[in-house]
Symmetry: C5
């Protein structure tokens, strides 16, 4: 696995939102891509994961890509793939890239399990105390997994935002809450008031794609029963 | 895995029809091979997939081969094997070959799942807008898998034709529709009016071979119960 | 895996009878070994397959060996092992050996599934048309697997004899029919009239060994329940 | 896998408490870390195990770390990970580290199965007879597994303390008993009278983290059903 | 895997008793170790098998070791591990060792399945006909597995003693019978009259260890449910 860059921004903030627990990371970065006029500056080149290509609004979505927002000097890593088993390798590549870019900061967005059954969505943070002033709660006792866990272990200065994911509630609510905090933290000035509604639309869009994908996979299995090999 | 060529056409159009979802790709390329007087110019050399040899009309069918139509300068990749797990490697070899041939274009033929239950077969396209004028619908939201997906990710100029595959309807109908569009797009001048009937015959032939293969495999399993090892 | 030879015959005909579908290949080559006064000239050296040693009439049977009939200049490959997963590697070694020996011809013996429920045993051929005159039917539509399939794909001049294997009927009948044709084709002058009875005895012998082996394996499993590791 | 050290103590005693059977090793070393004012001097760098990060009291707990108690010249290896399958490699790294440090002694803490159903917790020892005077029973007949087993086989001078683990009783009781003996053996002068209560608290803390982790994993599985790949 | 020797006897007879079918090999070599005042001269160094350490009479039993009886110039390979999957590698190392020692002979002890339901224990031999005069029956038709099989295939001069193992009867009876024949064959002058009783005691001891091990493994599984990773 490697990251191929067409452009190497200097001193950016890197935001990564890999899906490991819930779709919070994917939905949040997807929203940022669209609202911050991000441009595609690179992609992950991999042979380890099954080839899956998503087409959205008639355009190919790179399944694991590097985007850039020049006006804010922010790099956004966005993926729709399940990367389980390759977290260490991806982490290594992200840290390499951050060194090449001399990144100021890496921010990890992640879902975390909770048994809090209240309707209120809570966002926790790890790292920069400034995030607490902006409404995130300090994470006290928790188990983190996925690319965020490996980044946390290998990259000592990582800042994380964790959305407490409820099984029943849609991930878009948690994503909206994260965007609200990120907006203040990074001075993004995205209009986050209609966020919840938009986040829901994003979630629906992504879920439609995922459902279609699952159906495709199932049908493929049925059909391929008759294949050779 | 490697592609061994006896002949290297210059500036051809390459058509690939690997089976990943439905048999559309295999049936379509099979039909083209027979109707365009294609000659065998190469084969995939692999150790990764189980050895399976098909004999058709008394002749060995290379399970994964490169064919050439001199009159149209078209290269056709045809396979009867399930290549799941080797899509990236095959894609790499196809792109290498296309560079060596200085190919003008690569066209991918693929099935795609749909929940449209109407009787009408729809063909979608990705890439060259000319395909829309010829009757293909633009693909808006979709998930692509298989060699077409990896080609789409790695080969930026890919053109694709996707047949919406119905679980109930035979793949031959979708193949016929794809051939009709390909015929116009490439100026093949194949007599595609009796296509549907012929495509059905092709499908039956391939299915007979596949059923025989499945039976062989099952019998082999039963018999091999008593083998050592 | 490699073939270790004590002797390298020049310009022989090579007969291979690996078990892939039914025991036809093993029974036929076993019969030839005994009736043509073959001498052991080599063995396959492998670490990939489980070590299994068969003792027959008090002598160790090499599980995968190369035999030679000087009077007929015929090399016979005989094995009692299930080689599934190693067909390509074995094929490569056989082709290497055939080049070293400058072999005139390779003949593959194989079982093939059939749904013909008549009592008559049919033998099909692929390759040399002379086999048709000797009573073998041309194979029209079929799926071949195992070492014969990989040999067929890699070694263009291969001749094959396929016995249509009935699930109900013993393989020895099919083996007897193959020997009859081979006898004429190669001028072996084995007394093939009492073949059927002998082939049955061979089959019983091999099956006894295999049953004993299976029982050993089962017992071993039961006993090894209490092993460490 | 490798151990990265920021500091290399000279002639220390090394205590390892990897979880292999029960949590005795983890609970005991956790207790020692807190009561002996240990400082983090190194960590295991691994790609082989899934990335899992635990946050405790708002701080990242290195999942597999090397700690040091300067006042006692004791190095403590502490991990919360299941290292099954990597015992030999870890053992090699520990022995390498012990050579680099010119360690005086390695002490292994381990749980061991027992069918003794009495309420009394028994601690067994292997190695230094002095441990018997301090209340440990000599181990007579036993099967040891995990990192303690591989250390025992490769590091001839190993001393071990085994807590007989009852399925019903909490591991903290066994850990408390081990700490009592270790305290005398190493002259640690930890206040081990309130140990049992504290050990229970430790156990509860670790179990809470583990339960949360299990829940996270389960939820992740449920959620990831809809992921691609 | 390698064999590390502290001492290299010259021209010894090597006896191997790896468990593959039944515990006959382990029980027999265990008995010889104790009665012939064997000294430990080496051990197998492996990373491939799970680390398991057995403690017997308070001493660590090397799970896979090389012993030596100076008075008889006999080397004994003794193991309590299930080595399935590593037979070829172990065989290679044994043959290397035998060359280094310029061994006069290798004797393999093995269990073999049988459906003979008489109470009489039968011992079969392969190789040196002298074994027949001492009471072993020649093996006529059989399937051998495990290290004995790979040794038989790779080491042409191997002598084997096979005990026909009954599922119902204890392996110790078969071991006693093998020791009786070995005693005469090698002039060991062990007092083999009370053998049966002793062999039973050995079997009980080994079985106790194995049962304890199984229980430990089961308990470990139950306990480790709550581990991370």
């Amino acid at each position: 696995m490697k990251i191929i860059l067409k452009k190497t921004p200097k001193n950016p903030i890197i935001i990564e939102g890999f899906p490991s627990f819930g779709l919070v990371g994917t939905i949040t970065t997807e929203f940022l891509l669209e609202h911050l006029k991000a441009e595609l500056i690179g992609e992950f080149h991999y042979n380890e994961l099954s080839p899956i290509a998503a087409i959205h609004k008639g355009k190919l979505i790179n399944p694991m890509a590097v985007w850039y927002v020049p006006s804010k000097n922010i790099v956004i890593l966005h993926t729709i793939l399940n990367v389980k088993g390759y977290e260490w390798e991806i982490t290594e590549k992200i840290i390499e890239m951050s060194k090449k870019m001399n990144a100021k900061e890496i921010i990890s967005l992640e879902g975390v399990a909770t048994d809090d059954i209240s309707d209120e969505i809570k966002v926790y943070y790890y790292g920069n105390k400034k995030l607490e002033e902006l409404g995130a709660l300090p994470v006290k006792e928790s188990i983190i997994m996925g690319v965020s866990a490996s980044l946390m272990i290998r990259y000592k200065k990582l800042n994380c935002l964790f959305a407490a994911v409820h099984t029943q509630l849609p991930d878009s609510k948690a994503a909206a809450k994260i965007i609200e905090i990120l907006d203040k933290y990074l001075g993004l000035k995205v209009d986050y008031h209609p966020l919840l509604k938009q986040a829901e639309e994003f979630e629906n869009k992504i879920k439609t794609i995922l459902q279609q994908s699952n159906k495709t996979l199932k049908e493929a299995d049925k059909k391929s029963m008759s294949y050779l090999g």
